[in-house]
Symmetry: C2
Subunit: 548 residues, 2 copies
């Protein structure tokens, strides 16, 4: 990597004379590696086993080895990981894009219906399921680890472990699932993954505020109250920020649209909502996620055509870069010597703990996927809406991978104020890295073959055109997007007799009332269309088309 | 601003427990102010006197006053300015976009011709003119300041002052000039502004490497050699990075385009070129500027339609945010108490120095605009190509404003290693801020009226639709862009008898040979079109259209 040569370069010039030369070197190396990940990820796209996250992890590992050899075993990473880096720069674009692109993924009438029809099931899996998983893993950890001699871990640490390993990473599975062939499955896995992220982070946050050494009913009640307060107020803040951006752009920009200003305003408002939530000690993840949903539902329809294309792709790109960066870093950091020093004293114990955690993850997820699927199936009337046994296995498998959020929470919990020196903390960090590496690489690589085996109907499409969530966007990107939506809405009105529409008729409930409310109150005020067919001459319509 | 309340909030939660709470507050405040700048800038767009930079400066000043009052006179700014922030995050997008959007600004055949026809004049103004301005200001500063009793400034400091005040900021003028009515003037002011930025930064960098206490012929020669080495190698690196990105995207992405990957790769490669230049002690500004030009000329034509729209607007938005941020900061920092403490000991002297610097700026610019215009006019054969006296005044005026680059260089030179405590350094910082504030606000506000007075032909268009460089992009943003270019190229071939074409015929020179080289060697290898008419079936054409 030429680090030796580089270090000998004379420190001159504007930048290098003021900032740390080493940081310039590491930024260069990181960006070059990111480029390598993108190119390699593209080349390996049709490969059966590998995806973008795994590519980044492997490249990170290889770079770690090279750095280890270059620095003669002193260090394997070139950038000190800070939670600030993760929570201020990397996480917001990832989560915001998850919310923002959700409407594009479900942008045709049928798929949006699919999403809202399964709203209850998704919430059930994401919120209740994560809680069940959390309790299973926590209790398992308390029961098993407290008998093993691993440093000074208290109840709070074990509960944190539960929250850390409840955060799933379903990206691998989403890259393989085909939304057109298995819309129910896709919306379930996607929706659950998003709610799960939020739930586990809120859980983790709520846990930090409590003295958990003596647990009684009052503490549990207070904890639950805190949890719901965080959940509701974060959601409210996100929705408020999204609506405010929609209102500002709708009111101000009539007739005089400026793409740069619109894009800048959307970006800044989304980021502001995240930072405000962090400032007010709410969950920034939930806030920015709901801000993304509201922005794509209202704000996005008030801006110019080019702003729509730009925001859609710019946010997706930022999220993509942030994710790749993260996996790259984790791969590199996995070889950090200092962390493994404790673990290497007792290699058997270290492997044991990682295996136990992996087992708990498997059990904790099984403990809610199959019972909750059963419950969900009870409420459905038609067999087509029920979750089949094979689909249940896919849902179970989809949430076994652990990723970026787990790593970030673990670093946050176990490295704070130089605690890496403690035996228990060091072992928990190395175990988290092991679980993330193993689950992403081994489980992740098995996902494609498993899904092909369980859902053979979709295998043909998967081979011919890999339908990652990213490539799903592509056909929508042209200027036809608006008219596509329009056509979809119209055809829905003109031909309500299609089989699918008839089947979904009985499931009014949430979606029906939401549409009524949206049409009567929200759309006239905040703009946006997509839910209702386009009505010519409406104020929204004028403001949308007036500026083009 | 509620800072008092906020400061009393309990520090809980993931983010606030690990990072500095104050930094979260200041990030929030800064983003909120940025949003305010965008909204106010939009509302004031048709105002006669004010533009976006001035809005940001005024909002920054007001916020500074509020913070001063809130903190009871202790501090006026909430973020410590670091050159790293400026040189690593803010400057690259601004300069890259200057290069990248240049091709869009000159994207129609005639205007691109205009740009290349004036290539020599632009280089003359930007490079030689900046050198003349640098020497005038430096010698003036040595002559005048060394007689006033202002601290310990040596020859190196005076030369740095020359470089700092040679960096112009022609954004205000470009917002007022109409590209369609005065294409010659527009391309001159724009091109000169860009080359000027690069020249002054390279000058500043080159100065840092020399012991300037004894100046003889050998030192001057070595300095000139260093200057040209920096210039050429930086340009080469930028061109290389741009071509590499074009080559990678052209070779890899045939038939399987992914917008996110393409956008990410372009962004990362551009940033990598900048950071590599800084690592190698070259001029990152020049590198990233040429990388932008090459990317918009080749890479941009190899990507999908949606990637084109996205990159164009995403880069413009990032540049817009960075610029607004900078002016906001400068406005806030202008009220910093500590810097003014020295100056307030001798208010007369402080005002005197600022006035002298302003005078030197006026003289230094006059010293090259009028002579070089005269020289340039000598080489032109037709009167339509000559720079009129009124246009010369506009060019002179366009470069009087001092902005972001001057501030950054001044901070770099005079605040390093806590030197703010020194009398001379403190006075130079306050004087720089005064000159930037005064020139941006007073000169900037007079630009619109002056141009309307001097070039009355364009006054009608300016009033009816303000043609800022940003809004100039807008008509091109639709998916018609490609076909527009095509049409322009075709019409150029079919009707070469138009008056303008005939007039430009004798000016083959650079442009003609460049086109030959581009067609024969560059385009087959790196793709891209825009210079030559579209020829169906060429490999470039296939790769461009194949992926859509």
């Amino acid at each position: 990597m030429g680090l030796g040569v580089v270090a000998h370069l004379v420190r001159l010039g504007v930048l290098s004379s003021t900032s740390d030369h080493a940081s310039v070197v590491s930024i260069n190396l990181f960006i070059a590696l990111l480029c390598a990940c993108i190119v390699l990820g593209h080349l390996l796209e049709e490969n059966r086993w590998v995806n973008e996250s795994i590519t980044a992890l492997i490249i990170g590992l290889c770079t770690g080895v090279v750095i280890l050899l270059t620095t003669k075993g002193k260090s394997s990473h070139i950038l000190v990981f800070s939670e600030d880096l993760f929570f201020i720069y990397l996480l917001p674009p990832i989560i915001f894009n998850a919310g923002f692109s959700q409407t594009f993924l479900t942008s045709f009438q049928v798929k949006k219906k699919q999403f809202f029809r399964n709203f209850m099931t998704i919430t059930l899996f994401g919120a209740v399921g994560t809680m069940i998983s959390f309790f299973t893993i926590s209790i398992g950890a308390i029961a098993i680890f407290s008998r093993m001699n691993i440093g000074t871990l208290d109840v709070g640490d074990f509960l944190a472990i539960g929250a850390i390993f409840s955060a799933t990473d379903s990206v691998c599975t989403l890259q393989v699932l085909n939304q057109d062939e298995t819309p129910l499955l896709y919306s379930l896995v996607f929706g659950e993954g998003v709610v799960n992220d939020a739930t586990s982070v809120v859980l983790f946050n709520a846990l930090q505020n409590f003295d958990l050494n003596k647990i009684d009913a009052a503490v549990v009640l207070k904890f639950l109250g805190n949890f719901f307060y965080l959940f509701l107020s974060s959601t409210f803040l996100g929705v408020f920020a999204g609506l405010l951006s929609a209102y500002i752009i709708k009111k101000l920009y009539i007739g005089r649209h400026s793409t740069d200003r619109e894009v800048a305003l959307m970006m800044l408002m989304a980021y502001l909502s995240y930072m405000l939530a962090e400032l007010l000690d709410l969950s920034g993840i939930l806030t920015v996620f709901f801000c993304g949903i509201v922005m794509s539902h209202y704000t996005w329809h008030n801006v110019t055509e080019s702003s729509r294309v730009t925001t859609k792709h710019a946010f997706a790109t930022l999220s993509f870069i942030a994710e790749t960066f993260l996996f790259l870093y984790v791969g590199m950091d996995a070889l950090d010597i200092e962390k493994w020093r404790f673990a290497s004293d007792s290699p058997g114990k270290s492997i044991g703990i990682s295996s136990i955690l992996l087992g708990l993850v498997l059990v904790g997820r099984a403990a809610f996927v199959f019972p909750l699927s059963f419950l969900s199936n009870l409420t459905k009337k038609t067999p087509i809406e029920k979750i089949t046994w094979r689909q249940q296995v896919v849902i179970w498998w989809a949430g076994l991978m652990r990723g970026a959020v787990s790593i970030a929470l673990a670093y946050n919990k176990f490295t704070r104020s130089g605690h890496t020196q403690l035996h228990g903390n060091a072992i928990m960090i190395t175990s988290t890295i092991t679980v993330v590496l193993f689950s992403t690489m081994v489980f992740g690589m098995m996902t494609k073959p498993l899904i092909r085996f369980l859902l053979p109907a979709s295998s043909h499409t998967v081979t011919s055109e890999p339908s990652s969530p990213k490539s799903l966007h592509s056909p929508l990107l042209t200027s036809q997007l608006g008219s596509d939506l329009e056509t979809a809405s119209h055809s829905h009105i003109v031909r309500p007799s299609s089989l699918r529409m008839l089947l979904s008729k009985p499931t009014h409930t949430v979606h029906y009332y939401w549409r009524k409310f949206d049409d009567a109150l929200m759309r006239p005020m905040f703009g946006g269309r997509g839910f209702v067919p386009f009505s010519p001459g409406s104020p929204t319509e004028q403001s949308v088309h007036g500026g083009r």
